[in-house]
Protein backbone atom coordinates (compact mmCIF):
# COMPACT_ATOMS: atom_id res chain seq x y z
CA UNK A 1 0.00 0.00 0.00
CA UNK A 2 1.51 3.28 -1.10
CA UNK A 3 -0.02 5.26 1.76
CA UNK A 4 1.50 3.15 4.50
CA UNK A 5 4.58 5.21 5.23
CA UNK A 6 2.28 8.20 5.63
CA UNK A 7 0.42 6.35 8.40
CA UNK A 8 3.61 5.62 10.30
CA UNK A 9 2.92 8.02 13.14
CA UNK A 10 -0.72 7.06 13.09
CA UNK A 11 -0.01 3.54 14.39
CA UNK A 12 1.44 4.81 17.65
CA UNK A 13 -1.34 7.39 18.01
CA UNK A 14 -3.93 4.63 17.60
CA UNK A 15 -2.01 2.45 20.04
CA UNK A 16 -2.00 5.16 22.71
CA UNK A 17 -5.69 5.87 22.16
CA UNK A 18 -6.53 2.15 22.47
CA UNK A 19 -4.48 1.84 25.67
CA UNK A 20 -6.10 4.95 27.19
CA UNK A 21 -9.61 3.80 26.24
CA UNK A 22 -8.89 0.40 27.83
CA UNK A 23 -7.84 2.13 31.05
CA UNK A 24 -11.02 4.25 30.93
CA UNK A 25 -13.09 1.09 30.40
CA UNK A 26 -11.57 -0.55 33.47
CA UNK A 27 -12.35 2.58 35.48
CA UNK A 28 -15.96 2.98 34.33
CA UNK A 29 -17.52 0.18 36.45
CA UNK A 30 -15.80 1.60 39.56
CA UNK A 31 -17.35 5.02 39.04
CA UNK A 32 -20.71 4.25 37.46
CA UNK A 33 -22.68 1.48 39.11
CA UNK A 34 -26.15 2.02 37.61
CA UNK A 35 -26.42 -0.75 35.04
CA UNK A 36 -27.98 1.02 32.04
CA UNK A 37 -25.51 3.95 31.74
CA UNK A 38 -22.62 1.65 32.63
CA UNK A 39 -23.48 -0.83 29.87
CA UNK A 40 -24.14 1.99 27.38
CA UNK A 41 -20.75 3.62 28.04
CA UNK A 42 -18.81 0.34 28.04
CA UNK A 43 -20.40 -0.90 24.81
CA UNK A 44 -19.81 2.47 23.11
CA UNK A 45 -16.14 2.45 24.14
CA UNK A 46 -15.71 -1.16 22.97
CA UNK A 47 -17.28 -0.40 19.59
CA UNK A 48 -15.04 2.67 19.16
CA UNK A 49 -11.95 0.57 19.98
CA UNK A 50 -12.99 -2.26 17.66
CA UNK A 51 -13.68 0.32 14.93
CA UNK A 52 -10.22 1.83 15.36
CA UNK A 53 -8.57 -1.58 14.99
CA UNK A 54 -10.57 -2.31 11.82
CA UNK A 55 -10.15 1.16 10.26
CA UNK A 56 -6.45 1.72 10.94
CA UNK A 57 -4.71 -1.58 11.76
CA UNK A 58 -6.73 -3.55 9.20
CA UNK A 59 -6.50 -0.55 6.83
CA UNK A 60 -10.23 -0.65 6.16
CA UNK A 61 -10.26 3.13 5.99
CA UNK A 62 -7.88 3.06 3.05
CA UNK A 63 -9.63 0.25 1.18
CA UNK A 64 -12.38 0.50 -1.39
CA UNK A 65 -15.66 1.47 0.22
CA UNK A 66 -17.42 -1.67 -1.01
CA UNK A 67 -15.09 -3.86 1.09
CA UNK A 68 -16.68 -2.17 4.09
CA UNK A 69 -19.97 -3.85 3.21
CA UNK A 70 -18.37 -7.26 3.80
CA UNK A 71 -16.99 -6.02 7.11
CA UNK A 72 -20.22 -4.46 8.35
CA UNK A 73 -22.57 -7.27 7.29
CA UNK A 74 -21.84 -9.61 10.25
CA UNK A 75 -22.52 -6.78 12.72
CA UNK A 76 -25.93 -6.17 11.17
CA UNK A 77 -26.84 -9.86 11.12
CA UNK A 78 -25.67 -10.39 14.71
CA UNK A 79 -27.56 -7.36 16.01
CA UNK A 80 -30.61 -8.79 14.27
CA UNK A 81 -30.00 -12.14 15.99
CA UNK A 82 -29.72 -10.41 19.36
CA UNK A 83 -33.03 -8.61 18.88
CA UNK A 84 -34.72 -11.83 17.80
CA UNK A 85 -33.55 -13.52 21.02
CA UNK A 86 -34.49 -10.64 23.32
CA UNK A 87 -38.28 -11.19 23.42
CA UNK A 88 -37.63 -14.73 24.63
CA UNK A 89 -35.28 -13.57 27.39
CA UNK A 90 -37.59 -10.81 28.51
CA UNK A 91 -40.29 -13.30 29.60
CA UNK A 92 -38.75 -13.26 33.05
CA UNK A 93 -39.49 -9.57 33.38
CA UNK A 94 -43.16 -10.17 32.59
CA UNK A 95 -43.97 -13.49 34.23
Amino acid sequence: MSGDSAHENNYYTIFIMLAVLTAVEVGVPMVITASVPKIAILVTLAVIKAGMVALYFMHLRFEKKTLGIIAILPMIICSFLLFMLMPDSSWRWIG
Binding site: M1, V28, V53, F57
Partner: protein
Protein backbone atom coordinates in the same frame (compact mmCIF):
# COMPACT_ATOMS: atom_id res chain seq x y z
CA UNK B 1 -1.82 0.65 -3.24
CA UNK B 2 -0.22 1.09 -6.66
CA UNK B 3 3.04 -0.67 -5.91
CA UNK B 4 1.40 -3.83 -4.55
CA UNK B 5 -1.08 -3.78 -7.42
CA UNK B 6 1.82 -4.00 -9.83
CA UNK B 7 3.18 -7.01 -7.96
CA UNK B 8 -0.27 -8.60 -8.03
CA UNK B 9 -0.30 -8.52 -11.83
CA UNK B 10 2.78 -10.72 -11.96
CA UNK B 11 1.20 -13.70 -10.26
CA UNK B 12 -2.51 -13.25 -10.82
CA UNK B 13 -4.48 -13.21 -14.03
CA UNK B 14 -7.56 -11.38 -12.88
CA UNK B 15 -7.74 -8.78 -10.21
CA UNK B 16 -10.59 -8.51 -7.73
CA UNK B 17 -12.52 -5.25 -7.92
CA UNK B 18 -12.58 -5.04 -4.09
CA UNK B 19 -8.96 -5.70 -3.19
CA UNK B 20 -6.80 -5.01 -6.26
CA UNK B 21 -3.64 -6.22 -4.47
CA UNK B 22 -4.69 -9.84 -4.22
CA UNK B 23 -7.56 -12.30 -4.20
CA UNK B 24 -6.17 -13.74 -0.99
CA UNK B 25 -6.96 -10.54 0.84
CA UNK B 26 -10.58 -10.63 -0.29
CA UNK B 27 -10.67 -14.29 0.73
CA UNK B 28 -9.42 -13.42 4.21
CA UNK B 29 -12.00 -10.64 4.57
CA UNK B 30 -14.80 -13.02 3.61
CA UNK B 31 -13.48 -15.66 6.02
CA UNK B 32 -13.31 -13.05 8.79
CA UNK B 33 -16.88 -11.95 8.07
CA UNK B 34 -17.98 -15.58 8.57
CA UNK B 35 -15.84 -15.89 11.68
CA UNK B 36 -17.33 -12.66 13.04
CA UNK B 37 -20.76 -14.27 12.75
CA UNK B 38 -19.58 -17.22 14.88
CA UNK B 39 -18.35 -14.83 17.55
CA UNK B 40 -21.47 -12.72 17.09
CA UNK B 41 -23.65 -15.78 17.68
CA UNK B 42 -21.73 -16.61 20.88
CA UNK B 43 -21.97 -13.03 22.16
CA UNK B 44 -25.64 -12.64 21.22
CA UNK B 45 -26.46 -15.92 22.96
CA UNK B 46 -24.50 -14.76 25.99
CA UNK B 47 -26.42 -11.47 26.03
CA UNK B 48 -29.79 -13.14 25.70
CA UNK B 49 -29.07 -15.77 28.39
CA UNK B 50 -27.73 -13.18 30.79
CA UNK B 51 -30.61 -10.80 30.21
CA UNK B 52 -33.06 -13.63 30.88
CA UNK B 53 -31.36 -15.00 34.00
CA UNK B 54 -32.35 -14.05 37.54
CA UNK B 55 -29.20 -15.46 39.13
CA UNK B 56 -26.33 -14.07 37.08
CA UNK B 57 -23.24 -13.24 39.19
CA UNK B 58 -21.38 -9.95 38.70
CA UNK B 59 -18.48 -11.11 36.48
CA UNK B 60 -15.81 -8.91 38.10
CA UNK B 61 -16.51 -10.50 41.48
CA UNK B 62 -16.84 -14.07 40.23
CA UNK B 63 -13.75 -13.93 38.01
CA UNK B 64 -11.52 -12.34 40.64
CA UNK B 65 -11.11 -8.82 39.23
CA UNK B 66 -10.23 -7.49 35.79
CA UNK B 67 -6.51 -6.88 36.32
CA UNK B 68 -5.33 -9.92 34.40
CA UNK B 69 -7.86 -9.65 31.58
CA UNK B 70 -7.18 -5.92 31.20
CA UNK B 71 -3.49 -6.70 30.89
CA UNK B 72 -4.29 -9.42 28.33
CA UNK B 73 -6.23 -6.78 26.35
CA UNK B 74 -3.27 -4.43 26.50
CA UNK B 75 -0.97 -7.25 25.39
CA UNK B 76 -3.08 -8.00 22.30
CA UNK B 77 -3.20 -4.29 21.41
CA UNK B 78 0.61 -4.21 21.66
CA UNK B 79 0.91 -7.29 19.45
CA UNK B 80 -1.40 -5.63 16.90
CA UNK B 81 0.98 -2.67 16.76
CA UNK B 82 4.01 -4.95 16.33
CA UNK B 83 2.09 -6.70 13.51
CA UNK B 84 1.52 -3.47 11.55
CA UNK B 85 5.14 -2.45 12.21
CA UNK B 86 6.29 -5.80 10.85
CA UNK B 87 4.33 -5.29 7.61
CA UNK B 88 5.61 -1.74 7.37
CA UNK B 89 9.22 -2.90 7.83
CA UNK B 90 8.89 -5.38 4.96
CA UNK B 91 7.30 -2.71 2.76
CA UNK B 92 10.40 -0.60 3.44
CA UNK B 93 12.59 -3.56 2.49
CA UNK B 94 13.78 -3.98 6.08
CA UNK B 95 13.77 -7.79 6.45
CA UNK B 96 15.46 -7.80 9.86
CA UNK B 97 12.93 -5.31 11.21
CA UNK B 98 10.11 -7.42 9.81
CA UNK B 99 11.50 -10.53 11.56
CA UNK B 100 11.96 -8.67 14.83
CA UNK B 101 8.44 -7.19 14.91
CA UNK B 102 6.81 -10.41 13.73
CA UNK B 103 8.73 -12.36 16.39
CA UNK B 104 7.43 -9.94 19.03
CA UNK B 105 3.89 -10.45 17.72
CA UNK B 106 4.20 -14.23 18.07
CA UNK B 107 5.62 -13.80 21.58
CA UNK B 108 2.66 -11.58 22.49
CA UNK B 109 0.29 -14.32 21.34
CA UNK B 110 2.15 -16.99 23.31
CA UNK B 111 2.13 -14.80 26.44
CA UNK B 112 -1.62 -14.25 26.01
CA UNK B 113 -2.21 -18.01 25.83
CA UNK B 114 -0.04 -18.54 28.91
CA UNK B 115 -2.10 -16.05 30.87
CA UNK B 116 -5.33 -17.61 29.71
CA UNK B 117 -4.07 -21.03 30.80
CA UNK B 118 -3.17 -19.54 34.19
CA UNK B 119 -6.60 -17.93 34.48
CA UNK B 120 -8.45 -21.13 33.53
CA UNK B 121 -6.37 -23.21 35.98
CA UNK B 122 -7.14 -20.76 38.75
CA UNK B 123 -10.90 -20.76 38.01
CA UNK B 124 -11.10 -24.55 37.65
CA UNK B 125 -9.38 -24.98 41.03
CA UNK B 126 -12.02 -22.71 42.48
CA UNK B 127 -14.63 -25.14 41.17
CA UNK B 128 -15.77 -23.17 38.14
CA UNK B 129 -16.01 -25.65 35.29
CA UNK B 130 -17.88 -25.74 31.97
CA UNK B 131 -21.22 -26.91 33.34
CA UNK B 132 -21.25 -25.59 36.91
CA UNK B 133 -19.80 -23.00 39.25
CA UNK B 134 -19.57 -22.66 43.02
CA UNK B 135 -20.68 -19.05 43.38
CA UNK B 136 -23.37 -18.04 45.85
CA UNK B 137 -24.91 -14.66 45.13
CA UNK B 138 -27.39 -12.27 46.73
CA UNK B 139 -30.30 -10.65 44.91
CA UNK B 140 -28.04 -7.98 43.34
CA UNK B 141 -25.71 -10.58 41.80
CA UNK B 142 -22.92 -9.87 44.25
CA UNK B 143 -20.83 -12.94 45.03
CA UNK B 144 -21.14 -13.66 48.77
CA UNK B 145 -19.50 -17.07 49.02
CA UNK B 146 -18.67 -20.46 47.59
CA UNK B 147 -21.00 -23.42 47.62
CA UNK B 148 -20.02 -26.81 48.95
CA UNK B 149 -21.98 -30.00 49.34
CA UNK B 150 -24.57 -30.04 52.12
CA UNK B 151 -24.43 -26.30 52.66
CA UNK B 152 -27.49 -24.35 53.76
CA UNK B 153 -28.16 -21.11 51.92
CA UNK B 154 -29.08 -18.02 53.95
CA UNK B 155 -32.28 -16.13 53.16
CA UNK B 156 -32.04 -14.09 49.97
CA UNK B 157 -29.03 -16.05 48.72
CA UNK B 158 -28.98 -18.35 45.72
CA UNK B 159 -26.55 -20.30 43.59
CA UNK B 160 -25.30 -18.54 40.46
CA UNK B 161 -26.55 -19.72 37.08
CA UNK B 162 -24.44 -22.53 35.63
CA UNK B 163 -24.80 -20.76 32.28
CA UNK B 164 -22.40 -18.12 33.61
CA UNK B 165 -19.47 -20.53 33.44
CA UNK B 166 -20.69 -22.21 30.23
CA UNK B 167 -20.87 -18.93 28.30
CA UNK B 168 -17.59 -17.75 29.82
CA UNK B 169 -15.61 -20.82 28.79
CA UNK B 170 -17.25 -21.16 25.37
CA UNK B 171 -16.63 -17.53 24.37
CA UNK B 172 -13.13 -17.09 25.80
CA UNK B 173 -12.17 -20.64 24.77
CA UNK B 174 -13.29 -20.07 21.18
CA UNK B 175 -11.25 -16.88 21.16
CA UNK B 176 -8.24 -18.61 22.74
CA UNK B 177 -8.39 -21.20 19.98
CA UNK B 178 -8.17 -18.35 17.49
CA UNK B 179 -5.12 -16.96 19.27
CA UNK B 180 -3.53 -20.40 19.16
CA UNK B 181 -4.25 -20.70 15.42
CA UNK B 182 -2.88 -17.19 14.98
CA UNK B 183 0.36 -18.10 16.75
CA UNK B 184 0.79 -21.13 14.45
CA UNK B 185 -0.17 -19.07 11.37
CA UNK B 186 2.21 -16.20 12.20
CA UNK B 187 5.03 -18.62 13.09
CA UNK B 188 4.76 -20.15 9.62
CA UNK B 189 4.87 -16.67 8.04
CA UNK B 190 7.84 -15.81 10.28
CA UNK B 191 9.74 -18.91 9.13
CA UNK B 192 9.07 -17.94 5.52
CA UNK B 193 10.35 -14.40 6.14
CA UNK B 194 13.51 -15.79 7.77
CA UNK B 195 14.00 -18.11 4.79
CA UNK B 196 14.06 -15.07 2.54
CA UNK B 197 10.56 -15.13 1.05
CA UNK B 198 8.73 -11.87 0.33
CA UNK B 199 10.14 -8.45 -0.52
CA UNK B 200 9.10 -4.82 -0.50
CA UNK B 201 6.90 -5.47 -3.57
CA UNK B 202 5.54 -8.76 -2.29
CA UNK B 203 4.00 -8.33 1.15
CA UNK B 204 0.51 -9.73 0.54
CA UNK B 205 1.01 -12.86 2.64
CA UNK B 206 2.17 -10.78 5.63
CA UNK B 207 -0.67 -8.33 5.22
CA UNK B 208 -3.27 -11.12 5.03
CA UNK B 209 -1.83 -12.82 8.15
CA UNK B 210 -1.98 -9.40 9.81
CA UNK B 211 -5.68 -9.06 8.97
CA UNK B 212 -6.36 -12.30 10.82
CA UNK B 213 -4.30 -11.22 13.83
CA UNK B 214 -5.97 -7.79 14.09
CA UNK B 215 -9.35 -9.47 13.89
CA UNK B 216 -8.44 -11.69 16.86
CA UNK B 217 -7.47 -8.51 18.73
CA UNK B 218 -10.70 -6.78 17.70
CA UNK B 219 -12.82 -9.69 18.93
CA UNK B 220 -10.98 -9.78 22.26
CA UNK B 221 -11.75 -6.08 22.78
CA UNK B 222 -15.45 -6.97 22.51
CA UNK B 223 -15.15 -10.17 24.58
CA UNK B 224 -13.27 -8.31 27.31
CA UNK B 225 -16.03 -5.72 27.54
CA UNK B 226 -19.02 -8.06 27.40
CA UNK B 227 -17.71 -11.01 29.41
CA UNK B 228 -15.47 -9.33 31.99
CA UNK B 229 -16.53 -5.71 32.42
CA UNK B 230 -20.29 -5.36 31.88
Amino acid sequence: MSQSATAGHVVENYETPLTPESWGKLGMWIFLAGDAMSFGALLATYGALRFGAVNWPIPVEALGGVGLSAFMTFLLICSSVSMVKSLEAMQNDDRLGCIRWLGLTVLGGVAFLGMQAYEYTHLIHEGMVLAENPFIIDSTGSVVGHWHEGMELAAGQMRASSLFSTTFYMTTGFHGMHVFSGVVYLSIVLIRVIRGNFSADDTNVIEIAGLYWHFVDLVWILVFTFVYLV
